[in-house]
Amino acid sequence: MNGGSVPPEKAGTVFQMKEYKGLLSWLSPVDHKQIGIMYFITSLTFFLVAVSLAMIMRTQLIRPNHGWLSSATYNQVFSMHGTTMVFLAVMPMLIAFMIYFTPLMIGARDVAFPRMNALSYWLYLMGGLLLYFSFFTGGALNVGWSAYAPLTETNYTMSKYMIGTGVDYWIVGLLLAGAGTIMNSVNILVTVAALRAPDMKLSRVPLFVWMSAANAVLMLLAMPALNTALVMLFLDRHLNALFFVPAAGGKPLLWQHYFWFFGHPEVYILILPGFGIISEVIPVFSRKPIFGYAFLAIATVAIGFLSFGVWAHHMFATGMNFTVYYVFALASMLIAVPTGIKVFNWIATMWGGSISFDTAMLFAVAFILQFTIGGLTGVAFATVPIDWALTHTYFVVAHFHYTLLGGTLFTVMAGFYYWYPKITGRMLSEKLGKIQFWLMVIGFNGAFFILHFAGLAGMPRRVYTYPDLPHLASINLISSLSAYILALGILVFFANLIVSLRKGKPAGDNPWNGATLEWATSSPPPPRNFERIPPVRSITPLWDLKESGRLPDTLPSSSRERDNE
């Protein structure tokens, strides 16, 4: 089962391939796989930084009235943690999966616009570096990742601690990265629309690709709202445009509308590719085709649509009109339905299967349960009066870490264990994987489940310290200690990534008996991805081939050779 030219036991890792040798090849790549790898490495680096910031926060919060960090420092730390996780770590990590695997899974040789793909990456990297450069200019962003006006206006960001350029670097950094993201979405959409293997009808497109495409639509429509708001804020700060200044007739709430018009789709942007990964992993490790393919695809589209009609649920405490609340509460509750459909379809996929507990599958299952918790607290927040009581508190922090960390990050982990062999040519260590998995499950739930109670007990979010009110000391102690366990798990993951590159078992083309096209080529795939594109008769082309007893390297050459350079 080796579509490439080298037998697996001799195969080097991706970094030893002659086409990818040399600095120049990594400075000017246009191959989607190389760019994908650069996205992986960069986003993992930013992820490590953001995790370190999180550990600093949890250390500061380990006990009441802790005097370690000043408010000035803590505010930068939590703001940069949120911004980095969302824009520089998790979203680009998902984009990395999209860029790397979309062409492979649809039998294309590259993305539609390889050079634009490279531009996206460089914009992302430069945006990220610019954002971090702000630390050296007198202080980074210190107003939270949602940067509510009018606190972001110059008269409030100037203080004796800092000159307040952090907000400006944030604006410009996110604009750059955001422009890159918009190009990513165009690229993915055109690739999926135009470069699918000849017989891959829309009804045979792998679910990961479906969800990536839906994600691309969301990014395309949501990012401009953020970019607009950023430009308006920049004008406010430097040309006195007064968009958000109430004393001059501006509206602080306008910022919130813009921000969340982007921000709510954004949280789906942060989960849809994850849903896609899960929809690939569960069938493979259950040896059973995905249950309810059509419903999953439709549910994805429904989520995409609805996600643009729920943004004001982030503003239930702003004192708007009740009619507005009704509309947004209803829409927010409705969006839970397609999400629920997915969960039940995944379970139904496992049902009757032959389930193996490889690390990828463990992460997928933990994801289902943890994400369900995050989803349910989400429904609680859509119940307006509960939002009135609990928004802006640690209950929210717990809620969105259940969706983003217990949710997305766990899907990403499943994705790494599933696809690392394809990307690098080596298997990740399952032994380290299991250790990592248990450290992360215990650490994550220990750190964040209990934070629901911190919110109930009266702890607002974004505070650098808190008084010794009943229960807060013990809750925070447990949360911080568990967070260290979680961080240990993450370190084990990084160790695994590095060690397995040298010591990992050679992967072979299709170590997991995957069903989709990426497993029909060698690991790592050759620069042009496929020598022959196998026929696609269903959503599980490789399983079909196996049944009919034909192996990929004896395939007839595909009817239409494609070249997209």
Binding site: S71, L151, L253, A317, I368, L369, W388, H392, G458, R462
Partner: protein
């Protein structure tokens, strides 16, 4: 005095209603989670890979799909009804009613104005139990959020966008809360203290607050008045009966009657007051500058301000 700090110990009718919604949703959520977790765990155990057992191959079942679309739809419709019902109980529109209290949030303290009796105070909110009260919220600068967990709803305090809350306190006690919308450096130390009292106690308190500041009783305190006038305090602070042009800092007319200083950052003792006057920035990030007072001056001010019951 009983202290209330948690969402789970409601002190107003509105908080009781919200907690009811919370428990309903909690029950429903626990049920759904049990179903999801139960089914997954069962599947994992029952269908784990074993020699010689072939996986099934079914791919679809429209009846099942309809079932698990319809049931969640019914559930969320139910929850939506709960939301609408509790909303109308908790915080109906103010419809032109006059507020019993106007709270003005500032970076990083709370200004209070009781329009009816005409009382100005700061940071510590006295309210009578048993009556349905209307509170109005305005902001003097950025967005804050008024959150006292046991009172039920929180409300954002937004410049140019006044908001309101209805509260019916049920039990006397001290209700602790905090600003919950990030508002800058001092956000973490912008606490709220609500003192719920019987109508009699409340009226006594109002009566005492209506008085102008007591004149200095001793020589030390009289010197304190001088320092207060000289050292720019009056540009920011007001003391009824002395000078009332300061608008950007807490009213100090009855500062000694408060339990805490600087929005809950310190308990109100003479030592803490002098610590505050010596170096306010070491207590919390705030808009009160270090005024370079000598030890003597601090002593005089403490004597004066400490007498402003």
């Amino acid at each position: 005095m009983d202290y209330f700090t948690s969402v789970l110990s409601p002190g107003t009718r509105q908080a009781v209603d919200i907690l009811r919604a919370f428990y309903i949703v909690l029950g429903v959520s626990a049920f759904i989670f049990a179903v999801v977790a139960g089914l997954s765990m069962y599947a994992l155990c029952r269908f784990r890979r074993r020699e010689g057992r072939e996986p099934k191959t079914f791919r679809e079942n429209v009846r099942l799909e309809v079932l698990w679309t319809a049931i969640p739809l019914l559930i969320v419709t139910g929850l939506f009804v709960v939301a609408v019902w509790i909303m109308s109980l908790v915080n109906p529109p103010a419809l032109g009613h006059q507020p019993d209290l106007t709270v003005t949030a500032h970076q990083w303290w709370w200004g209070l104005r009781y329009p009816q009796p005409g009382v100005t105070a700061a940071n510590e909110i006295h309210l009578p139990v048993g009556r349905r009260l209307l509170l109005r919220f305005e902001s003097g600068d950025v967005i804050h959020s008024f959150w006292v967990p046991s009172l039920g709803q929180k409300i954002d305090v937004i410049p140019g966008h006044p908001n309101h809350l209805w509260l019916t306190l049920e039990r006397p006690g001290v209700y602790l809360g905090a600003c919950s919308s990030f508002c800058g450096m001092g956000h973490g130390k912008m606490r709220i203290r609500v003192i719920a009292q019987s109508t009699d106690d409340f009226n006594t308190w109002i009566g005492s607050q209506q008085q102008p500041a007591s004149p200095p009783s001793a020589a030390q305190a009289a010197k304190g008045v001088g320092v207060f006038m000289e050292k720019n305090c009056i540009n920011c602070h007001s003391i009824a009966g002395l000078v009332t042009k300061g608008r950007v800092a807490p009213d100090l007319t009855h500062v000694a009657s408060r339990e805490t200083l600087a929005a809950g950052a310190l308990t109100n003792t003479p030592e803490n007051l002098s610590r505050w006057l010596r170096d306010p920035q070491s207590v919390k990030d705030c808009n009160m500058p270090d005024l370079g007072l000598s030890d003597d001056q601090v002593g005089y001010l403490v004597a004066y301000l400490g007498g402003l019951k």
